[in-house]
């Protein structure tokens, strides 16, 4: 129990104070790179502090000193123990064109499951509307979709519904779609079930709208209206669902003996990559929806809009299939969850 605490403190104080000052400099400029000499010196001082902590941690009497040392060691530990630090600077274009599609492909099964769930929802939505027309009010949360499709098409084609607030509309669409995507991802925290529910619900809405317009014989309008922005918007929501399912899978940990923390830690960069990628796709979708999708024949021929949508969809498929393939390697980091 008895230790010469004043002597102990006096011997180690210069080392503690130097470590504290060096850490303060590092903390104030976190992006600054260590020189070898600096790193060695900090590491040496850290080892001295750890050793001192080891000496007094068996002595409950020295609580104040131990707390001081624990705080000092914790600060140094953060700075010294990070093998995960990025060694190359973040390059947004390379990330979007390479890392994003590679990450998408690595978890393709989760995307296919998200697509399947949405298709099932769409089938259910169409079926529900086919057997109960009154279900439209329940299934469709948007007032402008509740009316008769033929009347809407007539109004759109006659130019009655044109407004001039494209920027505001694009902003609204972007924030709405990104919020839906974030929720679809985040609800994956409920073991993936939340994501499945949201994907299914989105599918129900999509299916009900499509069925409503197809039943009214407005398939050309529907394709011309939905394809230009839907070609990127719908895959974006599906990618959010993919991320949510990955999250759920990692939480459950089927056929994976790794600790929960390790599974989540390994997955986190992929989730962020998928979310960042889909956010960029949604910006594009919002611009297209606001400035192109809302114009109909005769201003913009449906054939042109449909062709644009098809080209866009094929381009997206090509991008996600081949993007960053040159850098593909079996040694790429990341765990296969689904």
């Amino acid at each position: 129990m008895i230790v010469d605490l004043p002597g102990f403190v006096a011997r180690h104080t210069p080392c503690f104070e130097e470590l504290s000052q060096r850490l303060q400099r590092i903390e104030q400029a976190p992006d600054k790179t260590f020189t070898i000499e600096e790193a060695e010196r900090v590491h040496y001082l850290y080892q001295r502090a750890v050793s001192a902590l080891g000496q007094i941690s068996s002595l409950p009497e020295s609580n104040e000193l131990r707390r001081y040392l624990e705080a000092l060691v914790a600060r140094a530990h953060v700075e010294l123990h990070d093998s995960r630090r990025r060694t190359t600077p973040f390059r947004p274009i390379r990330w979007f064109t390479g890392v994003f599609p590679r990450t998408f492909r690595r978890h393709l099964r989760a995307f296919l499951i998200a697509t399947l769930v949405t298709i099932l929802g769409a089938v259910f939505g169409g079926f529900a509307l086919s057997v109960d027309d009154a279900a439209k009010e329940t299934l469709l949360p948007f007032s402008h979709l509740l009316g008769d499709p033929r009347e809407r098409v007539e109004a759109e084609e006659s130019g009655e519904m044109k407004g001039g607030s494209h920027g505001t509309f694009a902003s609204y669409l972007f924030q709405n779609n990104l919020s839906v995507s974030i929720r679809t991802l985040a609800f994956g925290l409920f073991w993936g079930i939340g994501s499945i529910v949201l994907l299914f619900y989105n599918g129900v809405i999509l299916g009900a709208v499509c069925f409503d317009y197809l039943r009214a014989g407005e398939s050309l309008f529907l394709a011309g209206w939905l394809l230009p922005h839907g070609a990127t918007e719908i895959p974006s929501i599906l990618i959010a669902g993919q991320a949510g399912l990955l999250l759920g899978r990692a939480l459950i940990g089927w056929s994976d003996a790794t600790a929960l923390e390790d599974r989540l830690r390994a997955l986190a960069p992929d989730l962020v990559t998928l979310t960042g990628g889909l956010a960029i796709l949604l910006v594009f979708a919002a611009i297209v929806e606001s400035f192109l999708s809302q114009y109909h024949a005769p201003v913009l021929p449906y054939s042109l809009k449909i062709a644009f949508g098809v080209v866009e969809l094929l381009g997206l498929i090509a991008f996600l299939t081949f993007g960053g393939r040159a850098a593909d390697s079996p040694a790429l980091p990341g765990r296969q969850y689904v």
């Binding site: 008895i2 004043p6 104070e17 104040e64 705080a71 953060v78 986190a268 962020v272």
Partner: protein, 262 residues
């Protein structure tokens, strides 16, 4: 059920364990409220600024206002935590910080993820799910923290304790009674010794009334363990007595023990 802890223990590669004190629910709630006020203030400010663009185009002004609100409300926490080493304005005010659950450097991806997953923690309203998770989690983590591998800890500024000045001095008259002092070292329980040391170290942070009471309690207890001659302790304040005892317990100096000659 998880066993709840009030500090996060991290073991270094050298096998030494250090602890980070975890932030409580109420502190985090107050920090969040503070951040809410900051977000509202920033939003109001940005709204005023972007309305200048409305003079050029009403659509542009409205569009920027909408985007500004969205960017601030969703990006404020992440940006602050990224640039301020795990703190927001609210967190800094209430002395808490986001750190990696393994004591390593926070990655940007961790901060993005813990903020993206707020959408689940906020369900059904007012962070109810996050609050329940925080209460049930052994490390006081909301769901976003669990997924991102982060915890929120209290930031406590620690100073190297100035031991030399408080552990008694050459005028420690108790140390002259070598046998009694040796008995004191043997008889005083470690937790009492630790408490007495903590009291001496923190005495200046106590108000006058509590300072007297705390040292009276310690002095009474210590005097009941070892009886020093009355003339030695006569006129000595309880605080000075405890300080001298702490000096005996924690200073490695030879005690004057009389040698019995035959």
């Amino acid at each position: 059920m998880f066993e709840r802890v009030d500090s996060l223990a991290i073991e270094t590669g050298d096998g030494v364990v250090f602890a980070l004190p975890l932030a409580g629910v109420m502190t985090r709630f107050l920090a969040w409220l503070m951040d809410l006020v900051v977000v509202l203030a920033l939003t109001a400010l940005v709204s005023k600024v972007v309305m200048i663009f409305a003079l050029v185009s009403a659509d542009m002004g409205q569009s920027l206002q909408m985007l500004g609100f969205f960017v601030i409300s969703t990006g404020y926490t992440f940006t602050c935590e990224w640039r301020m080493r795990g703190q927001t304005v609210g967190k800094r005010l209430f002395g808490i910080r986001v750190v990696d659950a393994e004591g390593m450097r926070l990655r940007v991806s961790q901060l993005i993820l813990r903020n993206l997953l707020r959408a689940a923690d906020m369900l059904p309203l007012a962070y109810a799910v996050g609050g329940v998770s925080l209460l049930l989690s052994s490390k006081a983590q909301r769901l976003g923290d669990l997924a991102a591998g982060t915890v929120v800890v209290r930031v406590v500024k620690r100073e190297l304790p100035a031991l030399a000045g408080v552990l008694g001095d050459e005028f420690n008259t108790l140390a002259e009674h070598g046998v009694l002092a040796a008995r004191l070292r043997r008889e005083v329980e470690p937790r009492v010794a630790e408490g007495a040391l903590a009291a001496v170290l923190r005495r200046n942070s106590l108000d006058a009334e509590h300072r007297v009471l705390v040292f009276k309690d310690f002095a009474d207890h210590l005097k009941s363990v070892v009886h020093f001659p009355e003339q030695t302790t006569l006129g000595m304040s309880d605080e000075r007595f405890v300080q001298n005892v702490v000096g005996i317990l924690f200073k490695k100096e030879r005690l004057k023990v009389p040698v019995r000659r035959t």
